[in-house]
Amino acid sequence: MNVTATKQKPTATRVLSYAGALLETMDAGLASSPNVFIMGQGVDDFKGIFGSTTGLAEKYGADRVFDVPLMEEGMTGAAIGAALVGDYPITTHIRADFAFLAMNQIINLASKYSYMFGGLMRCPMLIRVVVGRSWGQGAQHSQSPQATFAHYPGLTVVMPATSQAIVDMYPQIINKHPGPVISIEHRLLYNLDFSVADSGSKIPLTSYVARPGKDVTVVATSVMVIEALRAAQYAEDKAGIQAEVIDLNSISDPDWDLVVDSVRKTGRLVIADTSWLEYGLAGEVCRQLVMRDPGLLRVPPAMLGMAKAPCPTAKSLEDLYYPSQHETVDAILTQVKGQEHGIPLPTERSMTEGYKRFRGPF
């Protein structure tokens, strides 16, 4: 599957998987300065965080890319200490759920270090967390904590949805961005191939239009951007609807003007997020809209996210738990044409090609 992430026509493109993009940017980060290092459980093993760190320990040495004991809080604390004396640490959690063990270091320390000491010290670092989904990940391996982290000032939170987003953003982050960054990567994206442009205007550390349109605005995050793009294509093919898909991309620093301008144009909104709707990202989108202009929406927006429960493991329940392509398409059609739109929906429930094939490694 090929998804072009930006609307710009790139001069030259190549095909690169999400995992490949991660590996490239990790490699480039390590090459850019001896201060950059990567630590995390299994970063130096043969699976290499789903292929995103494979071979780097051999290339840069065991003091630059190393395994650690099971110690999420301790590891994050050690990263902070290293950052404070001039290093640029990259840490990994193979599931975002495990970052909750490091919550104290992330929220009470990393996010506050600069402000709390009046700017005397900075805490630049990259925390990579992977969201699990599919194949029975269950309640403890499936959470997507973007709203949780983005609530706290001092943290930069991004959710790269494509290889392009990684290739463009990570070099702006690693050893450059002044504060701690949490990048929420999605496991289902790792195996997907994307078309990537190496020149052209870069995806910034904020939101961008992934697909222009005039009939309805779709604000999406992470793997839901891919879903939204597919659904938008379907809606265009079957009903001539032009959906504008905005990849929110940076959760802590979205381009709200971009979102609001789009909704001003379309008057219709679908929000497609990877987490729960309650006290989640969808609320912040709504807040930004009504603060700027409470009269923009012509109809109530549609919202797609996880069902209001922990994640079940059974496939039949998981299929209901996550928004399907079917529901995403329906949301777009309903926004524009109303509930009685009468346009046939796609039948398959599953999300992406990659998703259908996904059966690990975990």
Partner: protein, 309 residues
């Protein structure tokens, strides 16, 4: 038959059941009927079997994602387990748990967590509750060697020792956390470390021997029931990959020879006679459980939002 022979045979049968159940899971896996990450206990069965045999039914156990063995050894229903792996209504938890979260509270298995070390303090808390009620029940937490690196392990040892909680810390030492060897991860010797909290300890190297595990656990449980925590570390060996149904020696992070050495002790491999004698009956039991799972209905929308609180 001597009572020791009987004991051997009884424990052997349960261990064989576990092994054949997991072999069946391996066979079934390519069919995609089980859509769940599986962490197999093949090679580690004797730990669960020996330990659970030393417990009372009303003693509680808190386990991990690698808990097929403990589920069966503690007395969980086999049909409900297969149905759970299949994601069916007849499953232990109606398909909400999958392989990583087996439980059987009716026989004392109080849950399995897929967050490493996270159930360790649960056992301490349950033990304290028993103590406060002056009950003779005890709590057991089963965890891998890697789990001891997490901070909560330290907090749990300290709190248990301070409060004299009747809790058994049972460490399954397979020497690995995913692909990392213990010496890469741990600077401490587990027993000496636990002893520094004033916790009595023992290590058993013969983790293939369910009878020996049982004996060690009986001794430990006696002390725990008398009112103190105890740490029992049992050496064991994981034959398969960390998660999944394959082998992974070709990736080179560990030596086939180490596992081969272990297998030379493994009664489930060495005692062919008993394996042959018991297999048909055990296979029938498994076949019934699988049949139950196959015919169990799939959970639907009505289940999606139930039991959230």
């Amino acid at each position: 038959m001597s009572s020791r022979d009987e004991l051997y045979r009884r424990l052997f049968r349960t261990a064989l059941l576990i092994r054949l159940v997991e072999q069946r899971i391996i066979e079934l896996y390519p069919s995609d009927k089980i859509q769940s990450p599986v962490h197999l206990s093949i090679g580690q069965e004797a730990v669960a079997v020996g330990a659970c045999d030393a417990l009372r039914k009303d003693d509680v156990v808190f386990a991990t994602y690698r808990s097929h063995a403990f589920y069966i050894a503690k007395g969980g229903r086999l049909d409900a387990m297969f149905a759970e792996l299949y994601g069916r209504m007849g499953g232990v938890s109606k398909g909400k748990a999958g392989s990583m979260h087996l439980s059987a509270p009716e026989v004392g298995l109080m849950g399995s967590s897929a967050v490493v070390a996270s159930a360790i303090p649960h056992a301490v808390g349950a033990a304290l509750a028993f103590k406060r009620r002056k009950s003779s029940r005890i709590a057991v937490t089963v965890f891998g060697d890697g789990a001891t690196e997490e901070g909560v392990y330290h907090e749990s040892l300290n709190f248990a020792a301070l409060t004299k909680a009747p809790v058994l810390f049972l460490c399954e030492d397979n020497g690995l956390a995913v692909h990392s060897h213990r010496h890469i991860r741990q600077s401490y010797g587990l027993l000496q470390h636990a002893a520094s909290y004033g916790i009595a300890t023992r290590r058993l190297d013969e983790g293939w021997d369910a009878v020996a595990v049982r004996e060690a656990t009986v001794e430990a449980v006696e002390r725990v029931r008398a009112g103190e925590p105890f740490l029992l570390e049992i050496a064991t060996a994981r034959y398969k990959e960390h998660v999944g149904v394959g082998e992974d020696f070709h990736f080179g992070y560990r030596a086939q020879a180490d596992i081969d050495r272990w297998k030379r002790h493994d009664p489930l491999i060495q005692d062919r006679q008993l394996v042959e004698a018991l297999t048909p009956e055990v296979e029938r039991e498994i076949a019934q459980a699988v049949a139950f799972a196959e015919s169990s209905p799939t959970p639907g929308r009505a289940e999606l939002l139930t039991d959230v609180l």
